[in-house]
Symmetry: C2
Subunit: 223 residues, 2 copies
C-alpha cells in the first residue's frame, strides 16, 4: 500500500515522510505561522492519506511547530516577537549548560567530530550551497552539545534550534547570514571548544546568538 518509496534513501513510512515535508514547509514559511492546517488540503498537497497527515501534525505539536485546537483541527504555531525572544533566551541558557557539560567531558573523538563537522559547514558556506549549509550548520551546533551526555537537554536544544529557523526565514525570506562575519564567530567557538576553554566557548556561542538575535529583532518587530 504505502510501501515507502525508499528511492534514494529517503523516508520509510508515510507518516515520517509527511512529518518531514510538513516540518520543512512550516520552517520555511510555505505554511505561514498561524495558518489553519486543513487535513484535506495537506492530504492532496502531500499526496497521501489522512491518517499519516494527522499523525504528522500530532508529532509537530510536540515540536511546538503546530498547535492543536480543541475539536477544530490544527494550525501552524503563531509567531511573534515575544516567542522569538523567549526562544533566544532559552537557547542561550540551555546551550550554555550543554556546551559546558560537553567540554567537561571532552575527549579526542568528540574534538575530531567537531573539527569535521565544522569543516563541512565551512565548505558548504564557501560553495554557497545553502541547503547543505543549513544542515551542516545545525550539525555543527548540535555537535558542540553532543558530548554533554544529557539526551533531554539535547532534545530541547534541538527543538529550540528548529523553532529559531522559522524566525530566520520570517525575517529574511531564507537568506540571512549576510555580511557579518558569521564564519569567524564559528571559528572562535570551535577553537575555544577544542582547547577546552569553556568560558570562552560559551561566551562566544552566546554572543553568536545574541548578535543573530539583534539582527533578526528589527525585521521581526512588526510581528
Amino acid at each position: 500500500m504505502n510501501v515507502m518509496q525508499n528511492a534514494e534513501g529517503k523516508e520509510s513510512s508515510a507518516t515520517r515522510s509527511a512529518y518531514v515535508s510538513l516540518r520543512e514547509m512550516i520552517l520555511t514559511g510555505k505554511l505561514a505561522a498561524g495558518e489553519k492546517l486543513k487535513i484535506e488540503q495537506l492530504r492532496t498537497m502531500l499526496d497521501t492519506g489522512a491518517s499519516p497527515v494527522r499523525e504528522a501534525l500530532s508529532l509537530l505539536t510536540s515540536d511546538m511547530l503546530v498547535e492543536r485546537l480543541d475539536q477544530r483541527g490544527f494550525r501552524a504555531a503563531p509567531a511573534n516577537l515575544a516567542n522569538f525572544q523567549e526562544i533566544l533566551g532559552l537557547r542561550c541558557a540551555l546551550e550554555d549548560m550543554a556546551l559546558r557539560k560537553s567540554i567537561a567531558r571532552a575527549d579526542s573523538e568528540w574534538e575530531e567530530q567537531l573539527v569535521l563537522v565544522h569543516h563541512r559547514m565551512k565548505r558548504a558556506s564557501d560553495q554557497n550551497d545553502i541547503p547543505t549549509f543549513e544542515a551542516a550548520h545545525k550539525a555543527f551546533h548540535m555537535a558542540l552539545l553532543s558530548n554533554a551526555d544529557s539526551p533531554i537537554l539535547i532534545r530541547y536544544c534541538g527543538q529550540l534550534y528548529d523553532l529559531n529557523i522559522r524566525y530566520r526565514y520570517l525575517a529574511a525570506a531564507g537568506t540571512d547570514y549576510r555580511k557579518r562575519d558569521v564564519g569567524a564567530e564559528h571559528d572562535e567557538i570551535l577553537d575555544a571548544a577544542v582547547r577546552g576553554d569553556a568560558d570562552k566557548a560559551s561566551g562566544a556561542l552566546i554572543n553568536h546568538y545574541r548578535l543573530t538575535g539583534e539582527y533578526l529583532t528589527v525585521p521581526l518587530s512588526e510581528l
Copy 2:
C-alpha cells in the same frame, strides 16, 4: 459515534481521553517502563478505537513517556538511573531559572494564587487525600513558576515534573512522601517566594529536589 462522554466533566474527545488514561497508567507503573504497547491490547483496555490510541501514543511520545520504534509500534519509555538523574539535574536548573523570573515579576495576584494553591495542597496532605494531593502538589510547583512569562520554559518544567512522577512510583509503589518534613520544605519555599527573596526561594526549591532525589536514588539504583 464517539460523541465524548462528558459525564462529570471528563474528557471531550476519544483521543484526549485515551491520552489521559494512558499517561496515568504509565506514570503509575500500570504500564511498566520499557513495556511493549500493543495497539490491540490498549484498544480493548480503554474500550476505544485504534485511531485514538495511536494518536494518544503519538502525543505521549512528545512527553517522552512513550517511544516509537521504527516500524514496530510503541513502547513505554525505559526507566533507568541515568535518566532519573538527568531529569533531576534539569529540573534544578530550569526551575531555578523559572522561579527567579517569576519572583522578578511578582505581583499581588501571583502571590495570592501561590498562597491559595499552597493551602489546598496542605489541606489535601492533612486529610491524607493522596490523589488530590498529587494534583495539588503539581499545581503548587507549577504556580511557583507560572509568573515567569516564559511558556516554553514552563512547558519543559511541566514535562520534567511528570517524568519524575514515574520514578516516585517506581521507587515506592506510589506512596512516597514519608516522614521527612516535606510540608516544612514547601512552607519555606512559599515564604521566600512571597517575600520576594529569590535566592532563598530557589535554594529551598533546589534543596527540596535534591533531598527527594537522594531519597529516590537508593531504591532506584537497581534499575
